[in-house]
Symmetry: C2
Subunit: 435 residues, 2 copies
Amino acid sequence: MMRAYDVLLKKRNGGKLTEAEIKFMVEGFVKGDIPDYQMAAFLMAIFFVHLDDEERFYLTKAMLESGDKVDLSMIDGIKIDKHSTGGVGDKTTLVFAPVIASFGLPIAKMSGRALGHTGGTVDKLESIPGFRTTLDMNEFIANVKKYGIAIVGQTANLAPADKKIYSLRDVTATVDEISLISSSIMSKKLAISSDLLLLDVKFGSGAFMKDYEDAKILAQSMVDIGKNFGRRVVAVLTSMEQPLGRKIGNSLEVIEAIETLKGKGPEDFTELCVHLSAYALSFAGFGDIEKCKELVREKIYSGEALKKFGDLIKAQKGDSRVLEAPEKILPVSGDTVELKSKISGYVEKIDAEKIGLATMILGAGRKTKEDKIDHGVGIELLKKIGDEVKDGEPFVRIYFSEKSDLDSAVKFVEEAYGFSTSKTSAPALIGELIY
Amino acid sequence: MMRAYDVLLKKRNGGKLTEAEIKFMVEGFVKGDIPDYQMAAFLMAIFFVHLDDEERFYLTKAMLESGDKVDLSMIDGIKIDKHSTGGVGDKTTLVFAPVIASFGLPIAKMSGRALGHTGGTVDKLESIPGFRTTLDMNEFIANVKKYGIAIVGQTANLAPADKKIYSLRDVTATVDEISLISSSIMSKKLAISSDLLLLDVKFGSGAFMKDYEDAKILAQSMVDIGKNFGRRVVAVLTSMEQPLGRKIGNSLEVIEAIETLKGKGPEDFTELCVHLSAYALSFAGFGDIEKCKELVREKIYSGEALKKFGDLIKAQKGDSRVLEAPEKILPVSGDTVELKSKISGYVEKIDAEKIGLATMILGAGRKTKEDKIDHGVGIELLKKIGDEVKDGEPFVRIYFSEKSDLDSAVKFVEEAYGFSTSKTSAPALIGELIY
């Protein structure tokens, strides 16, 4: 008979676990047969000795099989899913999804409500009055078929084993290990039967992986897990050295997404959306990357991508006047303060993590599952890295609700910013493509 | 405010913990404020990154201070305590204690009832009809003052934190790590105010540390912890490559101890007792080791050491006729089988661990705290490494109670033994002295 102790000891001693052993640990833990403390020790052992390619595959498989699978086979066409490892100001899905859908490729997107500095994609969409993010599976599929796009909160019970294991990792300092991170992400993403999964793997100060090389290893690990499942997965490394775009918060990010779909978005965020969409299209057979970038830009300039976003809003009962007058329709806090530069010079750094923390303090995100999100608060970066700033000129605008939150939010923003009297330049945004 | 998560993370990242942090973890865990899973992850992190000298001192201190201290200061003279890291056939205390006491040095010995192949020292003593191993603290001290010797079960609440942590280590594969082992042992031993603590650290197939160098590291670690407490601690490395002596079991070991006190014990066990006693005496100022070995032999040949053992038995209400006719007074099973050699040659190896397992199966030890010990069963090694054996000649005698246990005990004994047709020799018994 298999015993958790023996599997744990084997792993601790650097042994390679079999599929049966990994399945035993995951299933036993979910059922409650294997106690928390043995799983905690097991996870810490993995933190130190890691899992190899095959073990990662088995772990992903065991977690995936603990829950539902979402079958999209009744939808015709190439189904493209995108996942970001997360960062500050990342509202890419709000642009990527309508852009891709505007090419006639179906978007059937399920998005989680993660904890973080701001809400997830569905929380941002819920800034739009009336927008429904809860559709049952039939409605979801019907919407994709009819409108070519649907974005909903994750209703299916995807990889509950991962959820339970993640909760334990979170309190036992075993989150930041490549095999565990990649298996965790992939167990949820591979439960949805997409034809292509595009991973946006962040690196830099605001990313989980600060270091480019670590991010690359993580990307490769996820791609390899996908390959072991016979699935098409590609990863793009992109910078989170400073926040993405200029607006961070829920309503604020919807506003910026709409601006971007109108061709008037911030340079870095637009570049990222164009790149990611082009990679997806290229893998879907629309030509090489350069050609696909052109195609994407055309869909934006022609207004077709924006129109598709309008279709999404209408289909999910949101107030579609938001496209014309986002600032009026969306709840944006009227209480603002601006932070002013004390020197003349250039922005040298913006620590994305600290900006994220400030946004969280303002109420834009969730620290615990129970927290309610304030859609109206956030931060607008008037100046980004490389921008010139004059003495006394505002570099940040803070949208707040509670005056009591303001002081510590301001403190973090001030700490995040670094200035220089000599010219600086923005960090490169797009790294390697891993597949 | 200190958080277990932060301390755990710091250790996992290879940081050095402060006294306050270690105390916080130990006390929090004992109080139940820190859950099992965080302690399990913490222990596994320590397994991989270890604790340095200072951290080991703080851990020992925190565990020691979680319980009672045994103050022996009202007893005059140099109080010597001895501790063995454990092995098969190790009945050294039964000889060491009366030998040392016969020099007028007070022996106030508290002994635990560990799990293992045989019982602990007090279980062995309980083979002697009437022998009481439970004395209250006043009686214990009075006996030492009056007879110069007392050996009791551990009644004081020594290092309960260690007990709780050990239980968790036992089920999370975090037992075999030097800092944890040495802190665990020392937290209990240093709680007793001896003037000299002599550690018998075993190496070889039947020891916790199979490897001599590992045993040496463990010995040094324990000695260093003692030094940090300002206590006198010395360690002797001794071999557990084969079982110690020829008799393993509870009554059987008392018989062998009595034989040894009569100067008729097996060579290896006698050598060990003489060495350990001589080291202790030498540290107590009786001269150099060689001179002390002579003194010890004299106490044995003169019968004074045996007489002191008799004093102990009388004082603790045991049947002192055991000294004259141990086989008659002690419960020894009348059911025996002998295993016979199938070749003519020499004994090349006796895996002590397997012999221990066989003894445990026969009922001589405890697998769980609730198990009852059978004092009459055990194994007698008629042939040890280096001994010549003829085809058909018995090499082991097994004393059993339950016929159902016999087959698997025999199997382990047969596996333990290795024979050679060429001459072999016994492994060296005494290694380095660490202080």
